[in-house]
Symmetry: C2
Subunit: 428 residues, 2 copies
Amino acid sequence: MTSSALLTDHYELTMLSAALRDGTADRRCVFEVFARRLPIGRRYGVVAGTGRLLDLIADFRFGADEVEFLRGRGIVDDTTADWLANYRFSGDVDGYAEGELFFPTSPILTVSGTFAECVVLETLILSVLNHDCAIAAAAARMVTAARGRPVIEMGSRRTQEEAAVAAARAAYLAGFAFTSNLEAGRRYDIPTTGTAAHAFTLLHDSEQAAFASQVATLGKQTTLLVDTYDIAQGIRNAIAVAGPDLRAVRIDSGDLSVLASESRALLDSLGATDTQIVVSGDLDEYAIAALAAEPVDAYGAGTAVVVGSGAPTAGLVYKLVEVEGRPVVKRSENKGTVGGRKTAVRRHKPTGTAVEEVVVSLGTPEPQPHDRILQRPLMRDGEAVPGRPTLTESREHLRQCLISIPWEGLKLSAGDPAVPVIMSGGTA
Amino acid sequence: MTSSALLTDHYELTMLSAALRDGTADRRCVFEVFARRLPIGRRYGVVAGTGRLLDLIADFRFGADEVEFLRGRGIVDDTTADWLANYRFSGDVDGYAEGELFFPTSPILTVSGTFAECVVLETLILSVLNHDCAIAAAAARMVTAARGRPVIEMGSRRTQEEAAVAAARAAYLAGFAFTSNLEAGRRYDIPTTGTAAHAFTLLHDSEQAAFASQVATLGKQTTLLVDTYDIAQGIRNAIAVAGPDLRAVRIDSGDLSVLASESRALLDSLGATDTQIVVSGDLDEYAIAALAAEPVDAYGAGTAVVVGSGAPTAGLVYKLVEVEGRPVVKRSENKGTVGGRKTAVRRHKPTGTAVEEVVVSLGTPEPQPHDRILQRPLMRDGEAVPGRPTLTESREHLRQCLISIPWEGLKLSAGDPAVPVIMSGGTA
């Protein structure tokens, strides 16, 4: 396996070189990951990627090839090269659970250690979290819009090939039922699904021949794609070939709300009352919501989910907030940034509805009934803390979190964050 | 190295299974990659990713682990598993050169072979091209907006970690001068650059101490980040520490047009007339264009370039257009799709300005003076055709292509495709 250590910005190593030389490299530092704001109109963010990030941090090593590249290019000097060859993160990581919601300034990940060992992780941490959180938030909105009907992730072809695997994982975390991506099935044990494309029908001498072949191989518990030529005839062909106990038909084009109704009526008239209708084709959360009243049984979502449905990156930053116990903060802008290590809790009504998130710098929020502590220990002395939730557990955690926010928070329309964050204490 | 064979949609293997069983798997097929339209307002697309795609196709193999996963999950039967274990693409690939421009319906990649060997490549081909073309098109607009000033790609942290490497490559193809991504430096021999973040200043007891450390390690040919506290004081500190022959200062926040002018005046008053000004912070092509009249020497672009500046995916599809020499096309929609293998040329005025792209199905365009044939043989019988352009050559090819289009094509504002595509022949 190729080392992930060069998935890193050049400047991290120039900073490292200078800090090793001037003696500041060993200063104890705290870095925090947070978003200054949510994407325009969004009411919540979703923490996603933590599980795969922790593995990547544990595996973050500069092998001989990486060190030789850096030295050969003159990016690092010999002292730094030696330091990198022995690098192993030995600090602590705390963070919100995967599947947790976040809001502007929520300290979703806190990395503590020497400056040197923390600074080199910046790009890797942000790449994983910015991507996966963006996909999970878009996917969660689609799951809400689908109102309990299953949603299938089929967007791999619209995003970079490895991003596709991460996107499938984030979508599953957010409640998608399946992915089309086989590597995601293997790597993360996510259920995969898929049947046929238009090419399969076009390959054959007739649509009936294509359907007969598919049923012969996959059985009647398959989904026949009926819109290669004429949809009504396609449905008739499907039922003629498979019989009325065909599992499903898929429609991938046209005005899906009209076609769903017409197709349902036609299927029923053919006695295929249990044959389901799967729709796909440029579906985003709004298109899914618009189909709520139609006789649709499942949605396939592609492009929109893998590009974050208008918000392809989560806007998370990795900021130095504490040096040797002293809070620090960049001052030349008025971004409301607060220095110092933060502690965060979410407050709830007795009914369980979240009312606010309290974030305190250099201290802890005064405990109140129905508080939920948001940060968990994830790594200690460079080792993963045992008991990491499974992807399935994180998926359930997100489902519960979405139940806990005020109902306005689930609206698709633009609005304020579902839960306000109250930040107090510790300006530098 | 992990096999790339599962970066594939489930349905490709169900289609394969059925086709192997019904005898259609060996039918000679032609698949084409094209975009039905450009992203809203865009005037051209840029072919990018071809170089890395050809390597991925050549390496596309189902190893024992992949086959076992597929068989174990019941995704393929034994016959299909055996076929996959012996898979090796043995067909032909033709396509537009990397760095070539494309427009709606341009057949940028043509894959010929048996149905079976071509269908399993769909997701990989589209993932690479949809991502890399999207980034390259956005990056090319930024390079145009920068009017010869260098642009540095520094967006790795805003996109998935492996997508970041591909994005750096696409941006360099499009004319970016440097990337911050070290893996892109190693993998594709792209020049990397980077100096320091705000964290480096915050780590130290004073800004002067941080600057002195950086200069001690990296020399005066470095770039000092001057906006951690007060920019004017930061510039004074930078010149006090490094002297007037400091190479550059970087400003990463605030109203960059005002700050660039003020900083230039201040640097000049300090005798640092050759010290350059690098600006960064949420720059897209419009923000870069707006700084054209300001004394800026280089731009750093992050988020906008790696997410395609509003168009994160290129909208390319992979469609079956020919079976056993017979053109085929999906009919249930009116998308203007034309079946059959296409041949494409671009026509030019005697001055070299492109006037139209002529695409002919099942034939070849009548030759005219100043035609340029757009498709090249890329693979023959599964082997790469020798003489693949280097990334540097492809970069120069794009630069020449952008010179060749009518000048309106380079405008940032929304408009029609810079070159119309005339499609003729061969409806199915």
